[in-house]
């Protein structure tokens, strides 16, 4: 849309703060978070529960409102970006409507955004192919495995032209074999669509395998302890996980997590 802004970061956070007021007193969910994400990056957020990684992702999506600092998405406020449908969001659960077929589920955002029905069909077919679910459009969610459901929910997030994809532990509930497979597919998909991806995870191997940038976070208050630019090449077969480079990055992530934890563990 705005060509001259090509070099500007997609997401930029400056001294971001977020405090939740709860009955047990204020909870400092994010403190002094500084981060910029460039176009086409694959950024993972990793850290223990309560470190604010999901909260940060939700701030980018304007599902939470920061209480301090500045945050821009595509050069706009997150809420403007949301209203411009700048991103697709994938939740931990697939959250498909049980009363809609897979194709109709993917059409949901397209219907809401007012695409013509011919265009809806075309896009559904395109994204179904993209997530390797061609031919499953007529099935109901309960007829699909958990992994396939999650792929359908990714297809739903890809169906409209958002160039940012935010994923909150999308494979957290799946077993490791399915997860490996989906990780491989996700990288392929990322390479083909050139989207900017924000990805929240608990898993060190997943974060290292997928990301160009790994953001290590720690809790109480939620903050960034390390940002690692991955030295791994863009082309990543699954067995890259046995290379020394991979192990070294994983080691650094683990160190970062341990440092952030302090005496807690």
């Amino acid at each position: 849309m705005i060509k001259e802004k090509k070099n500007q970061p997609v997401v930029e956070a400056r001294q971001l703060d977020l405090t939740f007021q709860t009955n047990d007193g204020p909870i400092h969910a994010l403190k002094d978070v500084n981060l910029s994400i460039d176009r086409g990056e694959f950024v993972s957020f990793i850290g223990p529960s309560g470190c604010g990684k999901t909260t940060f992702l939700r701030c980018i999506a304007a599902l939470e409102t920061p209480t301090g600092g500045t945050l821009t998405v595509n050069g706009m406020t997150p809420d403007e970006a949301r209203r411009n449908r700048a991103y697709g969001y994938v939740f931990q659960a697939a959250g498909l409507y049980p009363w809609r077929t897979i194709a109709k589920n993917i059409k949901l955002p397209l219907e809401i955004m007012g695409y013509s029905s011919a265009e809806q069909d075309e896009r559904v077919n395109k994204v179904l192919e993209l997530v390797d679910l061609a031919g499953f459009g007529g099935k109901f969610p309960w007829q699909l495995s958990g992994g396939m459901q999650q792929r359908a929910s990714i297809a739903r997030a890809l169906a409209f032209d958002a160039d940012i994809l935010l994923m909150d532990e999308p494979f957290g509930a799946l077993d490791e074999i399915v997860r490996d497979h989906l990780n491989e597919q996700l990288l392929e998909l990322w390479a083909r669509t050139e989207k900017t991806i924000g990805f929240v995870t608990h898993s060190i191997p997943e974060a290292v395998y997928l990301s160009t940038k790994i953001v290590v976070m720690s809790p109480r208050p939620g903050r960034i302890t390390d940002v690692i630019d991955s030295p791994l090449p863009k082309e990543r077969p699954l067995d890259i996980r046995d290379t020394p480079e991979f192990i070294e990055v994983a080691h650094r992530v683990r160190e970062g997590l341990r440092a952030g934890h302090g005496d807690d563990v």
Binding site: R83, Y87, Y89, F91, G95, R100, E111, I112, M113, W142
Partner: protein, 305 residues
Amino acid sequence: MKQITAVLWVVAAIVAFWYIACIPMNIDSALNAAERAGEQVDPPNAKERMQENDIILVWDNSFAIPDTWDQDRPRLPAPHEVITELWDSTVGKKITSKRSLVYHGWVTLSATMLGFVIGTGLGILLAVGIVHSKVMDLSVMPWAIVSQTIPIIALAPMIIVVLYSVGVQGIIPKAIISAYLSFFPVVVGMVKGLRSPDAMQLDLLRTYNASQSQGFWKLRLPASMPYLFASLKIGIAASLVGAIVGELPTGAVAGLGARLLAGSYYGQTVQIWSALFAAAILAGCLVGLLGLIERTVLRRMGMAQ
């Protein structure tokens, strides 16, 4: 097969209990008839028998037991008497006859259906309002609950009198009493149903920047369907009760309620029981029909596997 056996056993137990209950209930009149027919009865005096415990009477006059199942005006009619009466007053009479239970059933059913439609519509509208407006949630819901704490039998005559005084009579007052009983389960069920989508589903729509009405039509309403049908089944049974209660104070012109009332005026217990059974069968059919619609709709929607 195992289930059918179990069901039949329960039915058999109920029928057996019923026949046994008929014996002490009807022994007095059976013995009076026997005395008139010149049989030896113990004690021989009707007044003494009145004082005597019914169980002891049965014990001393076991010959009269079969008679207790075949009385003209029994205190408790036996199952076969009720069934015979049901058969005679449905199949055996012309539908237009004032003695036909089909005729009376139809009168009640039409009020039930009208009341059910009004009640369901009102219930859904209120639920939509309650879900979307905090003010309505706080102001309407308590009244809806209070409305159900008033015994309908106390309220029904007043509704009929008030409506009659403004010139409304016939089916409408009965339907309003029906609606009064049936809107409540629909409100409660639909509020729960419309609120059933979890935070994640609502967040998802927010990421699409969906409007409130899109959220309603695409998420809340379809998600509420299973709740709606559960409520409708309770609602239609309540509707029928409402229509029958509405017929009681109208001077017993027509309808199952009128039939009940007439039966109790003239001591026609068989007629009362057959009207009761007609009402129960009608309610069963209505709930069954709703269950059928429920299964069809939910299967169409892909929500029933």
